[in-house]
Structure formats: structure tokens, C-alpha cells
Amino acid sequence: MKKPGSRTAYILGKLARYCIAISLILTINFFLPRMMPGDPVINLLGEDARNANHFDKNVIAELHKYYGLDKPLHIQYINYLFSIKDNNLGYSIHKKLSVAELIGESFYWTLALLLPSTILGALMALIFGSISGFRQGQLGDISLSIIFVLIFTCPCFLFAILTISIFGFRLGWFPLSGFSSGPSSGLNPLFDIIWHLTLPVIVLSLANAAYIFFIVRNMIAQTMSEYFIFVAKSKGISERAIIFNHVLRNVMPPFISIIALELGFMVSGALIVEIVFSLNGMGTLIYDAMITRDFPVIQGVFLIVTIFVLAANFFADLLYGIADPRIGDAASSINM
């Protein structure tokens, strides 16, 4: 009997990767403003700092001192790590607010867009992908594939612009922008938000379903061609039971980790969709920051988004480790 491998080793290995990823992100975030062309003060404070200070050398020198830029790099780095720990992501001169506060407000709105879209997109991909995979080469499969290829080729922002101009502008079914029509409209606030979120969620979930659809379709088709499916058929198990107990059960673990990996794309998509629909989430935040060259905000958003994605992935890896019994065993079998 081959030796079972240790699942702890698998999880520890994964954990190490996440630690490296996080420290990498922190380091990038630290070095970018200091290494990039231009005065680091400007890079740390944004273009507004330049305008406000009118290139006053004394002020800039003071700011250098205030932000500790005159200290050696490693001390700066340690200070930076401590400030991150204290949830201090810098200060936006442009908005006259701390970055942490700014992000704190918009983060929930982004989540409100992201979570339903992720779930909806994953469900759509799973359902349509399964239909397509089980009926490969048939009419349903071909038409589903064509629809999703078209969505796949369409950049997210264009897709959003098109839906807005059709369903918002021309047909007027949905509001054009924002999360709510304001308290004065007299609508039930929850219903109002849902109404505002419908279009963006549909756009985002379809765009992401298009990515995952093909993966699911082919995972299903591949699993169907495995020998153990034939064996299951020979056992006289009904097609329904084969689909649910055998095929989907094999497809689920990789599906979970794909969803998590796609979350990175999801977040990117969400940022863009927010901009088009003028939703006050992190996407709009970063977009405004970009126009005004408000670097602290850009950096803060980047940091938060990345950590969020990493956390989700780690969670998915844990799930995968539980769902797939082969995890951790691969290394212990030697090819003789």
C-alpha cells in the first residue's frame, strides 16, 4: 500500500506561497513610489502636493523629513510595515481624507457588486458548462458556445457601455448610474439598491461566466471520457446518478480553485464595471485617483484588493485540500 502523504505539508506549502505573495505585494507597494521617476514626496502624496506647495523647496524638505524619506531605506521599510499594521495607508490630499477611510467606505459597495456577481457567474458557468459538456457537439452546446465566445471576446467595459446604452438609455428600464436614487425618491432602499445593481451584476457575472464556461465544459467532457465513467455505466447506474455522483464530484474541486483564481479577474472586471456605471466603489475611487494622480489612493486600493484576492484563494485552497483526496499524496509515489 502506498504511503499516504501529509495534508499538513500541502497546506504549509501553500501558506508559504501566500506569505511570499503578500510580502512581495507589500514590497512592490513600498518601493514603487521611492524608485519610480519623480520626487518620492510627490509619488507618496499625489500631484496635489506639487500644486499646493508650488515647488517650495523648504516645504518639500520638511515633507521629506515628515515622511521619513531622509532615513535609510531599511528603516523606512520597517516604519512602512508598522504603519500598514496600524491600518495607516496614507493620506489623500486631494480628497482631504485618509486612504483607509476612503477605502473603507467604497469597499462594501464593491463587495455588494462582487459577491452576487461571483456567485451568479459561477452558477451560470457551472450550469451552462455542464449542459454544454454533457451534450458536446449537439445544437445546445454549439449555440451556448457561440454566445459565450462572443461575450468572451467583448472587453468588459464595452459590454457594460452597450448594456447601459441599450437598457438604460434607449429602453429606460434601469437607472444609468449610482447605487440608489437617493432617499427622496421614496423607494424601498433595499429594493432600490437591487434595482440599481441589476445591470452591473448581470454584466459582470456574464463576463466572468464566459471565462469559466469553457473550462467547465471541457472538464466535464474530459471526465465523461474517463474509463471510470464507463465502469460506472457498466455497473448499471442511471445517467442522472453518474452525472451527479461521479462527474460533478470530480469536477467540483478544480472548479472551486478556478473560481478563486478567477476572482482576480473578477475584481478587475468589477473595477471597470463600476467606472462605467458610476458606482461609488473602489473602481471609481481608483479611476478618480488616476485622473488626479492621487498616488496614495491608487496604492491603497491595490493593496486592499490584492490582499482580498489572496485571502479568497487561500480559503479555496483549503477547501480543495479537503475535497480532493489525492492532495499531498502525489509526491510519495515513486516511479520504479
Binding site: 504511503k3 502523504g5 505539508a9 509526491a331 510519495s332 515513486i334 520504479m336
Partner: protein
């Protein structure tokens, strides 16, 4: 004489090589030219590992490989290449024995080019060897997935015979083939050993094949060579209990 002296091999896997697996332990075996030596054992006993060590596809953890009196164990790969011609190996699975990207002919030519046979002579050489190994020429431009396992093994033999090897390691060359094809190839190998004085190490789990092919037999279990001797003697009066057990079970 190809000598394997006190060969041991251990595989390390896992974190910092924590899991040690002893594949071969103190195995000593020699193959003389013109003789076929059988190596029997159940799957996982380390016989394939020993075969790979003999051609230095794997480095032994300890022990020496001596080829015609020259110790080649620690010889750097560059210098060892000239000896590569003399010892060749043939594997078990025909379906992956040749690169699926190339036709049989291209794979065969690859070995001709390695030996440095001028292009003008390659055709004659191909005709010679393909007649010897009975490789039908009309399938030579096909890819490996379009021909049968027996035909692939013949193409592999063509490739290997071009080197005029002095020693041949055969790692279950026919266990995946049908009986009638197996008979063809075994006859061919036997003839080759006697005619061209090639020494062969025949690795197999099939006692009958070993009995029909080999002059001498060694039995391997859990990485050790338990017993070695002339085929007739081994099959009539085995000393080790394991060999007895094998014989009882094969009837």
C-alpha cells in the same frame, strides 16, 4: 563484460528527502558478451531501476559499473557518450517508446545521425537492419500512433541495432505485446545475441519467457538479488524459497 558491482540505489522524496526508498541494495550482476541473463522479480522489486543504472540513466547511490574492464561509474557524461553506443536499453511500453511528433523513419534516422553515418549510406543501412528485424518498410513513414505495438518495438530495435551495441538491456520488451508478436521479437533477440555476440540483460516477470530466452537467471526481491545461476539449474532446483514460490505459482 558488463559488471554491476554492489549497486545500491535509494530514492529520496518529500521535504528535504525525508522519505527514503531503497530500490536496489547491494546488487552484483555481470553480463558477458553473447549471453542472455534473465532478471526476474515481481513489479516494484527494483529490477527496472537496476536496468536503468546499467546504462547510467540513473546514477547508483553506491557501487560500480564496469564496462569491459573500464570503470565508468563516475565518468562525466561527455566522456561516457562513447560508451553509450556499447550499452543500449529497450523499454516496456511501445506506445511511448517513440516521439509521437516524428515518423518511425525520422526516429530511426535520429539514431543514424547520432552515430555519424553519412547520409549516402543511411539508406543501405536502413534496408539491412529493417530486414534483420523484419520491419515492414511500407509503414515507415507513419507516426507511432498509426502502427501497432509490435511494429514500434521493431522500429526501436532498428534504432538500437544501428549502434551495434555490445550489451543490451531489455526491460520487459514484450510484456505488452501479443503472443505471436512476442514470439517474433524474442526469436529475433535470441538470434542477435548468438550471431553478433551481444550480451543481454533480460528483465521480465514472466518466468516462461525467461526460461525460453536466458542462459543464466538472477532472482530479485525487494531490491536484493536472492539467487543467481544457470537457467536449467534454477528452474529445476531453486535454492531460495522465493524462487520456489514463483515456480509453484507459475504452473
Amino acid at each position: 563484460m558488463l559488471e554491476l558491482v554492489e549497486i545500491s540505489k535509494e530514492f529520496r522524496t518529500g521535504f528535504l528527502g525525508k522519505n527514503v526508498k531503497q530500490a536496489v541494495l547491494d546488487a552484483t550482476l555481470c553480463v558477458d558478451r553473447g549471453e542472455i541473463v534473465g532478471l526476474i522479480g515481481e513489479s516494484g522489486c527494483g529490477k527496472s531501476t537496476l536496468g536503468r543504472i546499467a546504462v547510467k540513466l540513473l546514477m547508483p547511490s553506491s557501487g560500480r559499473i564496469i564496462l569491459d574492464g573500464v570503470d565508468v561509474t563516475d565518468m562525466p557524461e561527455k566522456r561516457f557518450r562513447e560508451f553509450r553506443r556499447q550499452v543500449q536499453i529497450i523499454f516496456q511500453h511501445p506506445e511511448t517508446a517513440l516521439d509521437p511528433q516524428y515518423t518511425l523513419l525520422e526516429s530511426i534516422l535520429e539514431s543514424f545521425n547520432k552515430i555519424g553515418i553519412p547520409e549516402s549510406e543511411q539508406k543501405d543501412m536502413l534496408l539491412d537492419i529493417s530486414e534483420e528485424v523484419n520491419l515492414p518498410l511500407d509503414i515507415i513513414d507513419r507516426h507511432p500512433n498509426q502502427v501497432s505495438g509490435g511494429e514500434i518495438q521493431r522500429a526501436v530495435l532498428t534504432r538500437v541495432f544501428a549502434f551495434e551495441p555490445k550489451y543490451l538491456i531489455l526491460d520487459e520488451p514484450t510484456s505488452m505485446l501479443d503472443v505471436s508478436v512476442q514470439a517474433h521479437i524474442l526469436q529475433l533477440l535470441k538470434k542477435k545475441a548468438k550471431q553478433d555476440n551481444v550480451g543481454m540483460l533480460f528483465i521480465s516477470h514472466d518466468l516462461e519467457v525467461i526460461r525460453a530466452m536466458c542462459d543464466r537467471v538472477a532472482v530479485m526481491k525487494e531490491g536484493r538479488i536472492l539467487e543467481e545461476g544457470d537457467t536449467s539449474k534454477m528452474f529445476l532446483s531453486p535454492k531460495s524459497g522465493y524462487m520456489k514460490q514463483l515456480l509453484v505459482n507459475s504452473d
